[in-house]
């Protein structure tokens, strides 16, 4: 590990991507992710990488499609409205079985919304987002360090399963500075010569990348293959963190990302008052840790989901808990982040 440096989340994830060997980056400016694109503009030329500001998010994601098809580590980033525009491209990248990393530094919505941090793009991120039968692995960091660590993790997952991977941060994680350490070594890129365009291994080793299957039976078969890959991803890549689990708590808190770090402080604060809460934080939002949440909810009187939205992940929590105990929701819209004191009092209301 190197030295600790104080960095914004936007910059840390960019730096980690470069350290992980990403040399192609295409994006379009949008707040609150601008430091990411600006960091890439500054740093990519210094490592002989490609930085290109696209004319739009639609163009940017298609540049990613092109670069990914040629087998290079490629990344793009944006924030909510821009990610909406990228959905067409993400659907094609998923269907074409190409590895790529998309960072979403989310903001308030719907529509132009605002630039405050929100978790209201959970549905879009975890349910495919674009058209068609597909999913995108989604990683949810809750510290700047984790944001950075997820860049190489995302490339690894993308390359192992040939899929686009999304890192779902938010405006707060993007803008705030925290200490970060970068590891000395990063996972090497997986050899793409089996499928990449322009990578013939023998003169007649012709590579085609395609998402068109006119024959319904062929598309059916392709989609079934894709879903077999998804089963593998579910088996191998589901990640979560638990906190204060062995405290004999009667209540379980479920939260991810920014909401989870605030919730953690609330758990600590209530512990001092003698109230024990267990907490589970999904790190992958797709695949969702259904089994772990179900396990954690076992024997609890109540499960409380906390999100910076009107309630999206709570639907997955309900699927996991499956009626075993009541699932309650604490949320906030508009990009207003909870303070720990606020969460403490809201939790107290729910458990009294």
């Amino acid at each position: 590990m190197g030295k600790k440096v104080l960095m914004k989340g936007n910059e840390a994830v960019a730096e980690a991507a470069i350290l992980a060997g990403c040399r192609h980056y295409f994006a379009y400016p949008i707040t609150p992710q601008s430091e990411l694109i600006e960091y890439m503009a500054k740093k990519m030329p210094l490592v002989d990488g490609t930085f290109l500001q696209a004319e739009s998010e639609v163009a940017a994601i298609n540049m990613v499609l092109g670069a990914a098809a040629c087998g290079v580590r490629v990344m793009t980033s944006s924030s909510s409205p821009g990610i909406s525009l990228k959905q067409e491209g993400i659907s094609y990248i998923a269907a074409s079985r190409l590895p790529a990393v998309i960072v979403n530094v989310t903001r308030g919505g719907p529509g132009l919304g605002n630039i405050a941090p929100m978790q209201c793009d959970y549905f879009q991120a975890t349910r495919g987002g674009g058209h068609g039968d597909y999913y995108t692995p989604v990683l949810s960091p809750s510290t700047v360090q984790e944001f950075a660590d997820m860049a190489p993790m995302a490339f690894e997952i993308a390359e192992k399963y040939l899929t686009p991977v999304m890192i779902l941060g938010d405006g707060m994680l993007g803008q705030m500075m925290e200490p970060v350490e970068f590891p000395d070594a990063y996972p090497p890129q997986k050899d793409p010569s089996e499928w990449a365009l322009g990578a013939r291994r023998t003169p007649d080793d012709r590579h085609i990348i395609n998402s068109l299957y006119i024959d319904p039976y062929v598309l059916q078969e392709k989609t079934e293959t894709l879903f077999k890959v998804y089963e593998e991803i579910k088996k191998n890549e589901t990640r979560f963190e638990t906190y204060n689990m062995d405290s004999g708590a009667k209540y379980l808190i479920v939260a991810h990302g920014t909401a989870a770090r605030v919730a953690k402080s609330a758990v600590d604060a209530l512990k001092e008052e003698g109230v024990e809460l267990a907490l589970i934080r999904p790190i992958t939002l797709w695949p969702y840790p259904y089994d772990a949440v179900a396990e954690a909810a076992k024997g609890k009187e109540k499960v409380i989901t906390i999100e910076l939205s009107m309630g999206q992940m709570v639907e997955d929590v309900k699927l996991a808990v499956c009626g075993e105990c009541p699932v309650e929701f604490i949320g906030k819209a508009g990009g207003v982040v909870f303070t720990p004191e606020e969460i403490v009092s809201l939790i107290r209301e729910k458990i009294s």
Partner: protein, 179 residues
């Protein structure tokens, strides 16, 4: 000191964000948990800039807070906006060259410091924020002077040794003014 929450605010260009950055850098060097969260976006336009800093012995949950232990207000609009969010018994450091007294001055500890004047005396008006850093370190002890100096040295010893000296002088003046 378990956790100190500090809000620094001023006009864009007054260097409020940098005050916060120095505290965060120094805290990190001391092995503490720190967060630094600026106001961002169009609200910065021509108006005020502010930053929330948390320095703690424990991992920081929310980097956002509604009540702070310390406010550093570099101008009157910032003081007007944030004074009331300072905890009772908390500390408000003002640039007394540009600010009056806050309404809640009886409930908090007020440290009016002529940041601009002191910086002018040193010969660099731009170092007014550094005078503020000095006052902040002296009154809160949230981080060590040495850690701030180490960071500044690291940043500018080679590139601009004169500025390093000015900044440290400003910090020391700020500290002695309030001690």
């Amino acid at each position: 000191m378990a956790t100190t929450r500090i809000l620094c605010a001023g006009f864009g260009g007054q260097g409020a964000l940098l005050i916060g950055k120095l505290v965060a850098e120094a805290g990190m060097a001391e092995g503490k948990f720190v967060t630094w969260l600026p106001s961002y976006g169009p609200e910065m336009r021509g108006g005020t800039a502010n930053v929330m800093v948390v320095v703690s012995d424990k991992p920081v949950g929310s980097p956002i807070f509604t009540k702070m232990d310390v406010l550093v207000a570099l101008n009157q609009p910032s003081l007007d906006k944030f004074a009331k969010d300072t905890k009772d018994g908390g500390l408000i450091i003002t640039n007394s060259d540009l600010c009056g007294d806050p309404e809640n001055k009886d409930k908090i500890k007020l440290a009016p410091v002529p940041l601009t004047k002191i910086a002018e005396e040193i010969g660099n008006v731009k170092a007014a924020n550094m005078v503020g850093v000095g006052a902040l370190l002296q009154l809160t002890g949230c981080v060590e002077r040495k850690s701030v100096e180490d960071y500044l040295s690291h940043m500018m010893k080679e590139k601009n040794p004169a500025l390093l000296e000015t900044n440290m002088a400003a910090i020391d003046k700020g500290a002695s003014y309030v001690s």
